[in-house]
């Protein structure tokens, strides 16, 4: 099918072999273009900038820093910096989130959503404490070891690890969260549904519904 007139004209003018050569040349251009920037705007980051922003921690834990901590070490830090909102034992205060309990409750008439009952990966807990806690206007001064210790404390209070278990970049990724397999699709889809071009969920449709290939 012809999409543009210029393309059609080109095609009709060119002989078959010339067309092939041109196609190869165009393809080469395309590759070269993909490998070098078009506008050459911006600059490489400094080491400090890379360090500052390479702070997101995914399920594989590749970005986790050196440091370690146990629930025992986490308890006094939690009492000082977290309990004001989350309660002495992670039970939550007022509208501020409960962190502990509810494991096994998600399919009951009264599900309890906590870090322990809901998270799929322990790395998500480390990541959120590290980047977002404590909340403004409190000072953000937790060291990596503090964050490991606080994560260990929350995991321990949820009965997921033992009080003396040491959390570090190797042990944290091995923690099996109770709700690890409570999500679908797993892994989450990184492409739209091939059949109709939608990203979940699907909606009602009538007889004139047109599946659209992306």
């Amino acid at each position: 099918m012809c999409y543009t007139t210029s393309y059609c004209r080109t095609r009709s003018i060119l002989s078959k072999s010339n067309f092939l050569l041109m196609a190869i040349a165009l393809l080469a251009c395309g590759v070269a273009k993909a490998q070098s920037p078009t506008y050459k705007v911006g600059r490489p980051p400094t080491e400090a900038e890379l360090h500052k922003w390479d702070n997101l921690v995914g399920p594989k834990g590749r970005e986790l820093p050196i440091g370690s901590g146990s629930a025992k070490e986490g308890a006094p830090i939690f009492a000082e910096k977290c309990s004001f909102c989350h309660g002495q034992n992670g039970e939550g205060v007022g509208m501020y989130p409960r962190l502990v309990g509810g494991v096994g409750s998600l399919n009951t008439p009264k599900p309890i959503f906590t870090v322990g009952s809901r998270m799929a990966y322990a790395t998500s807990i480390w990541d959120f404490i590290n980047r977002a806690m404590p909340v403004w206007p409190l000072p953000r001064d937790l060291s990596p070891s503090d964050v490991y210790a606080l994560t260990a404390f929350i995991l321990y209070k949820n009965g997921i690890i033992k009080e003396a278990d040491n959390m570090n970049k190797n042990t944290l990724v091995e923690v099996q969260m109770p709700n690890r397999h409570g999500f679908y699709p797993d892994p989450p889809q990184s492409k739209p549904d091939d059949a109709d071009g939608t990203w979940l969920p699907l909606w009602e449709h009538g007889p004139d519904w047109k599946p659209a290939a992306k």
Binding site: G42, P111, D127, P137, Q189
Partner: protein
């Protein structure tokens, strides 16, 4: 100024100052104190003055235009518990398809809206790229730009979870809450201007094997969201402009993501970092929130595309018709997939439907205004709208949604079951796009018959 007002003002100032203190006790731990430092909760004085020019303005007063003092429409503060800042768009007074930036809904995950100096702000693109790159704002604005009209909608908009909060607010005596604004006001539509995200990613050179981009904010809570690379290469905008001017501070000034058609939480504000990776990163706001848990305990995650949705904005429960006669039924329709193709309106409780006139041009993944003249005879009538997108996908009733999502839905919930139902029904929270019927009563007042049908509002009888 009365002494009462002075007292409240000085209290507000004190509370704000306390909240700014970095050390010691948290002043807003108590919900009431928090409400007092949260703008918008106190009605009256503030509302009357918001955005207006002085009574006798001189030319300097009008350097940045204010509205007539006869116009009093404002966003309202969230009906939800105030952990974080929320402001809801006054849809009942919406005109056309553009939401003025001052009316754009606001959801901020914490209590702090940063004020970032654009001269110091940078965006870093890193991770699985050939050339990790830092862009200044000046550099971003030098690149080829696009302007597109797109809606944003909070994931929880129209969710029954908010209805529960709304009833609690009304019970406490709050007077400024309507269903149209309180339940549906987490959507707005703007013209966004910026650089295509695909352009920045191509400049940095995305490596083979990459499949997700994690966008991270430079605000205090470092909101982060995993976005599929395919979507990033499709139509996402790294925006610095909104409705012909710079982004408003609370909309992510100086730079934000606009992810067309995807739920609001993806549209990361105060954008500072884009990391290209090979898997979703399971951030807090994609696991412990923004997932849909079903009755069997399994949760769907990374659901993203907003479904076909429409809403009659006039007449709605914020209005009262003065008497029988001709009115223009007007509303908005939107959807996360392509364009709105059709909006039908019923004025007889869904017995018959008429195609409404759609405002042109129809933008993709944007609000579409629909209009239909209506002669009201002064008798009780139930009016509603439903829309269809260009792919033939249709807006459902609440019952239809429940069926679609395998929900345990009951049209009228026994009082004894209500607490259990709030906790367990997935449709209480996310991605709700039900048909919203309004009942125009004989006296001209208008009432909600969607949420009210599920759980009668004792303060608002049908």
């Amino acid at each position: 100024m009365s002494s009462k007002k002075t007292d409240r003002r000085s209290f507000l100032k004190k509370s704000a100052a306390l909240a700014g203190l970095a050390a010691g006790a948290i002043p807003f731990i108590n919900g009431n104190a928090l409400a007092s430092v949260t703008p918008g909760l106190v009605k009256g004085e503030a509302e009357a003055k918001v955005g207006t020019a002085p009574e006798e303005p001189n030319i300097d007063d009008m350097l940045y235009g204010g509205r007539s003092s006869y116009e009093k429409t404002v966003r309202i503060n969230s009906i939800n518990s105030p952990a974080g800042l929320r402001n809801l768009t006054p849809l009942q007074d919406s005109i056309g398809v553009i939401t003025p930036s001052s009316y754009h809904y606001l959801v901020q995950g914490d209590m702090h809206v940063p004020n970032i100096n654009p001269d110091e702000h940078t965006l870093i693109v890193h991770g699985m790229v050939d050339r990790p790159t830092v862009f200044t704002m000046e550099e971003i604005k030098r690149l080829p730009s696009v302007s597109e009209v797109h809606f944003l909608e909070c994931t929880g908009n129209s969710g029954l979870y908010h209805y529960k909060s709304l009833l609690e607010n009304v019970k406490k005596g709050r007077k400024d809450v309507s269903i149209i604004q309180g339940m549906h006001g987490r959507t707005s539509c703007s013209e966004w201007t910026g650089v295509p995200l695909s352009l920045l990613l191509k400049e940095a050179g995305v490596q083979k094997g990459a499949s997700w981009v994690i966008a991270e904010a430079g605000d205090n809570i470092h909101h982060a969201k995993s976005i599929p690379l395919m979507k990033a290469m499709d139509d996402i905008i790294v925006a610095y402009g909104q409705n012909g001017e710079a982004l408003r501070r609370e909309q992510g000034y100086p730079l934000r993501l606009v992810v067309p058609g995807f739920q609001g939480v993806c549209n990361v504000k105060f954008l500072a970092s884009l990391k290209v990776v090979d898997e979703a990163y399971d951030m807090q706001r994609e696991i412990s929130a923004y997932t849909n848990t079903k009755p069997n305990g399994m949760s769907s995650w990374f659901e993203s595309q907003v479904g076909p949705k429409s809403l009659i904005t006039f007449p709605s429960d914020a209005h009262k018709l003065p008497g029988p006669g001709v009115y223009e039924i007007s509303g908005i329709a939107w959807n996360g997939r392509g364009k709105i193709a059709k909006v039908e309106v019923s004025v007889d409780n869904g017995m018959s439907w008429t195609d409404a006139k759609l405002q042109l041009p129809i933008y993709s993944k944007a609000w579409t205004r629909f209009r239909l003249p209506w002669k009201w005879d002064g008798t009780e009538a139930v009016i509603m709208s439903r829309c269809t997108n260009e792919f033939g996908e249709i807006q459902s009733t609440m019952e239809g949604l429940a069926k679609l999502w395998g929900d345990d839905f009951k049209p009228a919930i026994p009082a004894a079951d209500i607490e259990k139902w709030w906790e367990t029904a997935p449709i209480t929270e996310f991605l709700n796009n039900p048909i919203q019927p309004w009942k125009v009563k004989a006296d001209g007042s208008v009432q909600d018959v969607l949420y009210n049908k599920l759980l009668p509002n004792p303060f608002y009888p049908v």
